[in-house]
């Protein structure tokens, strides 16, 4: 399936992800339905199973979730594909973020900017809680895994242990079949 796409196809791939970048409010993961429509249904560059496996893999590997975009590109068109999708998804949003953050910093003390950041703070906390909740989904039918979720939350809230040790412990407990 790792077909070699022509330059024109790569350009189209790049262009499509360029467009998705500006729609990706709340992270690139929110645009997965459209990526699926484009890569699987419209262009047939990936199978359904390849698409799902790409996302599962990115969840399992360390690093920002956005890297699943690179895996999609890689599976569709090899390294040039990974480059096209990553550059596409990052260029517009990073440019905008940089511009907005500079503007915000020079107007930091104005009432408008303060109202904006402080007003959104409760929603940000809610979104973090939601993220935690959604991440527990694969664990919910396993008492061992839910115990691990709860234990991690308590240890993290009360100590300064580095997350890497907790993740390693989770991997060991899981590999032994308790999660």
């Amino acid at each position: 399936m790792t077909a070699t796409l022509h330059a024109a196809d790569l350009l189209a791939l790049f262009g499509h992800f360029l467009l998705l970048s500006l729609l990706a409010v709340g992270g690139a993961i929110t645009t997965t339905p459209d990526m699926h429509r484009y890569l699987v249904a419209e262009q047939h560059w990936l199978t359904n199973a390849q698409f799902t496996a790409s996302i599962a893999l990115a969840q399992a590997a360390p690093g920002p979730n956005v890297l699943f975009v690179a895996v999609l590109g890689y599976n569709a068109a090899g390294l040039p594909g990974a480059l096209a999708t990553m550059a596409g998804i990052l260029l517009p949003s990073t440019t905008l973020a940089l511009w907005a953050t500079r503007w915000g910093r020079s107007n930091k003390e104005t009432r408008g900017v303060r109202a904006f950041t402080l007003g959104l703070a409760p929603l940000t906390c809610g979104l973090l809680l939601s993220t935690g909740w959604v991440l527990t989904e694969p664990s919910r039918d396993s008492p061992g895994a839910m115990l691990l979720v709860g234990w991690t939350a308590v240890v993290t809230a009360r100590t300064r242990w580095s997350p890497i040790w907790l993740v390693a412990l989770g991997a060991i407990v899981g590999a032994m079949g308790y999660a």
Partner: protein, 192 residues
């Protein structure tokens, strides 16, 4: 709440290389999401940001398009070393994890069905969930200083959880609707 205290003096990154190294270390620890690790590394370990600053930056990076941890790395890098700093932090966040990810993509087919590998991934996923929940708990401490007041802030937070996690509304709609209301209220409470 006996979370680690937030009173130690703040520090600054020494150089672009330092930014790159810290963001690489942070990204490589993030399984299933970098955000909980970012809070630990940037607020508790490096002390580049206070908990309140972290929450404010996160709020902004959340509403901008693009991955919020990527936006966060740009903001922090740019704050200390301008464009070079932003590029260093972004490269730290993405370069090594990307190489690792593509290597894994090549290997994945061979080990996906191994029960120990699948179990380890499930265990790591459970830890990621716990990390995210603990981080939300710590961040809620900052809401006490919010101009909306703690009770109203908690109502907005709870409404967000219901809309996003339970009803699965699109995030853009929740931020536009509920977010606008919260911003308008904060604007009114901040009147001189």
């Amino acid at each position: 709440m006996s979370a680690p205290d937030d009173t130690e003096p703040l520090r600054e990154p020494r150089s672009c290389g330092h930014l790159f190294a810290v963001f690489t270390r942070l990204a490589l620890q993030g399984f299933g999401g970098v955000l909980p690790v970012a809070q630990h590394e940037l607020v508790e370990r490096e002390r580049w940001l206070s908990r309140d600053e972290f929450l404010e930056m996160l709020s902004v990076s959340q509403v901008l398009p693009g991955p919020n941890v990527v936006n966060l790395s740009l903001m922090i890098g740019d704050r200390y070393f301008g464009l070079r700093g932003a590029a260093s932090a972004l490269a730290g966040m993405l370069a090594l994890p990307l190489v690792l990810m593509l290597a894994l993509a090549v290997l994945y087919g061979r080990f996906a069905d191994n029960p120990m590998v699948a179990g380890a991934l499930r265990g790591m996923g459970a830890v990621s969930a716990g990390l995210a929940l603990a981080m939300a708990w710590k961040m809620m401490g900052s809401l006490r200083n919010n101009p909306l007041g703690l009770p109203l802030s908690l109502c907005f937070g709870a409404a967000t959880v219901v809309l996003v996690a339970v009803l699965r509304w699109p995030l853009a709609g929740v931020v536009a609707g509920l977010g606008s209301l919260a911003i308008a209220l904060a604007w009114w409470r901040l009147r001189p």
